[in-house]
């Protein structure tokens, strides 16, 4: 993508007014034309009437020319290769890709080498984030030591070091006793547990079970491997009173079961990742390893059910599930290929399809992308509020372009959305008032003004 990542800028000081913007306020569930005033990196004021009679003298002002201005995306599921597999992605290259994609905060999964089951690794991420100084970077702590699903990780120490929540990433905790204890123990720290619900003994297949898997001669993981684990987890939450967030919901049956649990008043939330509402298992036809994901892409019926879950709010949040893989990991026979796809740079346009197709309003979409994940992980950004950090994006919702892996800023190119025609593009990304990314199209617009 043609744009500039702006690294050197000093912290935002003084005041900047963004005028003539189409403002999306997810928490107020509203959208209007207006302005936002930023002072010293924080949102000082905003609204439809602010600077309605023209920009004030004496402060910097940016004419947004009708572009959308919204809270930056809060992506709760990002994997990078640092530490361990820096050839796939570093924290720096991931931060750049996030800036380009309009993600102002991201939470890093703990499944690195070494895994984040030690407080020093959480501190390492915080230190690297301060050095890179682009987007906000946070980290999960491991739920179990070595992500092995056997012994609890040092949740208290990890939380003290800054771990936002606890998860074993793409490893499901198969042992119910371990999960029960984790949910109990986490209560001492009011910690949130994030779990990928997949019954391990049923989810060893190469793709989702069904006609496509049968035709391709690939072993299948049945969709029920997910709902079985969702049901187990719900019972454990009921018993322990722990806080649980289920990750990457991919089947309609799971949505139904979670809806019922929420209706009973249980403290359960969930997310899905962009591929599960935008793709189905046809995407792995012809053995396309870029479509090999965890959980596997499901049927069209499940895809539609995930969209319904996003509409109804049963699914609280959308994540990118960014997982870089290099050519050596993907250009091999399907069964040998590593799972995962990159998603930081495509999260916004793919999610905007939900708006373009009439499923969600823009404020509702930004609840799923920004304000709700920020609330779940107790992050300060992701919303419009006086005093909140000025983590914002400007975007053109209708900008039509074709996703091309050659254009990614990520170190690896394994996007399941490669070659997809799409609409919507980030024009500027602002973190704590500082513009860290600007598209060339927007630079020209500003100059022309």
């Amino acid at each position: 993508m043609s744009g500039n990542v702006l690294r050197g800028a000093p912290p935002h000081a003084g005041s900047t007014a963004y005028i003539n913007a189409r403002i999306i306020d997810p928490t107020a569930d509203s959208e209007y034309t207006g302005a936002v005033l930023i002072s010293d990196g924080k949102i000082a004021d905003y609204g439809p009437n602010l600077f309605a009679s023209g920009a004030p003298y004496g402060i910097e002002s940016v004419d947004c020319r009708g572009l959308y201005l919204a809270p930056g995306l809060v992506d709760a599921r990002v994997h990078t290769g640092e530490p361990g597999e820096e050839h796939k992605e570093t924290l720096d290259s991931a931060a750049v890709a996030a800036a380009v994609g309009g993600i102002t905060s991201m939470v890093l999964l703990p499944d690195n080498e070494p895994p984040f089951d030690d407080a020093s690794l959480i501190e390492f991420v915080a230190r690297r984030a301060r050095q890179i100084r682009l987007v906000n970077m946070y980290a999960y702590g491991a739920l179990t030591a070595g992500l092995e699903g056997k012994e609890l990780a040092e949740m208290g120490l990890l939380a003290e070091a800054g771990a936002l929540a606890f998860t074993d990433a793409d490893h499901a905790v198969g042992n119910a006793q371990v999960m029960r204890r984790a949910l109990y123990y986490a209560k001492a720290f009011d910690a949130l547990i994030v779990h990928l619900p997949q019954e391990p003994t049923l989810s060893g297949g190469q793709m989702s079970s069904g006609e496509m898997a049968t035709r391709l001669g690939l072993s299948g993981s049945p969709p029920l491997a997910e709902v079985m684990m969702v049901e187990r987890d719900i019972r454990l939450v009921e018993m322990t009173g722990g806080r649980l967030h289920l990750a990457k919901i991919s089947t309609g049956e799971s949505v139904e079961v979670i809806a019922a649990a929420k209706a009973r008043g249980l403290k359960i939330t969930c997310d899905t990742a962009a591929p599960y509402f935008a793709l189905n298992d046809l995407a792995v036809g012809d053995y396309r390893t870029f479509g090999k994901l965890v959980p596997p892409l499901r049927s069209e019926k499940d895809r539609m059910a995930i969209i319904d879950g996003l509409k109804s709010g049963v699914i609280d949040a959308i994540v990118s599930d960014h997982r870089p893989q290099d050519q050596d990991s993907k250009r091999v026979p399907f069964a040998q290929a590593e799972p995962g796809g990159i998603g930081l740079e495509t999260l916004l346009p793919i999610s905007l399809e939900l708006v373009h197709n009439g499923h969600l309003s823009l404020p509702r979409l930004f609840q799923r992308l920004s304000s709700t994940p920020a609330r779940l992980f107790a992050l300060p950004g992701g919303k419009l509020a006086k005093g909140a950090p000025a983590d914002l994006i400007l975007f053109d919702a209708n900008y039509a372009w074709k996703i091309d892996r050659a254009d990614f800023w990520s170190k690896t190119k394994n996007s399941p959305f490669d070659e997809r025609p799409t609409q919507g593009r980030v024009m500027a990304t602002i973190v704590a008032g500082r513009t860290i990314y600007r598209d060339e199209a927007f630079v020209n617009a500003v100059t022309a003004a």
Partner: protein, 314 residues
């Protein structure tokens, strides 16, 4: 018949292409039975048999076929090749490709590996079996065997029995028989049936009695214990009792029903020796003979013909 770039599977082939290949195969049967078995249709061509999975019979069949057409044949024995030294599938493919063969015949244990390889080379690729996906020349030789015995495939009722889940032979045969207008049943224990197999245009039966009723053709499959992770059937003896083919179970089929098996057979597992060796019913050895003719036809159709000055095959 339009020239195909590769032969990766039966799925997607037209009935005309299949009939054309079978017609061409017919012409080689007599040649193979005569004293002078050699023609020079592929003189000057190089065929590499690249087998990542052991297979004496298929590799030999391809080798005999290519040699009888005058091609130079190289067998890549993977056990002694650099694949064991960590070279990737694609490195191997590109290395062989650089030696400018006209065709590479590939067998691999992973579904889709042959498709992947075909994308990276600029010679013809023939799939000699990839994982649980396809084994197109096996389906063609089965079709040729049936057609010679029954005149045509259209309207026949065929039962494919046993380990459907792990079988590329079953998948290729299901495609081919459906394309040619035969009716297909799959018969076996539910644990060895792939999900939604009925959507491939087959009737599913879980017992031999209903599955074999009135069928014209019985295709037995080998129980592929080497591909099984975990227990799919309780024991070999139980499997044989309920799903092994013997004269008793065969009674419900048409009296002249043919018995086929892609080999190698597990006698006493999926097939009783008496049935396998029944000269009136079993065409298992004929299948092997047809295999050479079919592979000759495929090689000729894919890489035969004269090259023009630009190196392209006319």
């Amino acid at each position: 018949m339009p020239r195909l770039p590769h032969l990766l599977g039966i799925e997607g082939l037209s009935p005309e292409t299949i009939s054309g290949l079978l017609d061409l195969s017919e012409s080689y049967i007599a040649q193979n039975r005569s004293i002078d078995k050699r023609r020079d249709v592929l003189a000057g061509r190089t065929v590499i048999n690249l087998f990542f999975e052991n297979s004496t019979r298929t590799r030999t069949s391809f080798e005999v076929a290519a040699k009888r057409l005058g091609a130079d044949v190289i067998n890549m024995d993977v056990a002694t090749s650099s694949v064991r030294k960590g070279e990737t599938l694609l490195d191997t493919a590109m290395t062989l490709n650089a030696m400018r063969p006209d065709a590479i015949v590939v067998r691999h244990a992973e579904s889709g590996a042959v498709n992947l390889l075909s994308q990276k080379v600029n010679c013809t690729v023939i799939n000699a079996g990839d994982g649980q996906h396809e084994h197109p020349t096996q389906a063609l030789l089965d079709a040729l065997t049936i057609r010679r015995r029954r005149g045509q495939l259209q309207g026949l009722l065929v039962a494919i029995c046993g380990d459907i889940m792990h079988s590329r032979v079953a998948r290729s045969n299901i495609h081919l028989l459906n394309i040619m207008g035969a009716r297909v049943r799959v018969v076996g224990p539910p644990t060895l049936m792939p999900t939604d197999i009925d959507r491939m245009g087959v009737e599913v039966h879980y017992n031999m009695k209903s599955g074999l009723k009135d069928v014209d053709i019985v295709m037995m499959l080998r129980l592929q214990t080497e591909r099984m992770q975990g227990s799919f059937v309780p024991s070999i003896s139980e499997y044989f009792r309920f799903f092994g083919l013997d004269h008793e179970k065969l009674k419900v089929a048409k009296p002249d029903a043919l018995i086929m098996h892609p080999g190698p057979m597990n006698r006493g597992v999926e097939i009783d020796s008496e049935v396998a060796d029944d000269l009136d019913r079993s065409v298992i050895h004929e299948q092997v003979e047809m295999g050479v003719a079919v592979r000759m036809a495929c090689l000729e159709a894919l890489i035969g013909g004269r090259r023009n000055a630009m190196g392209a095959v006319a």
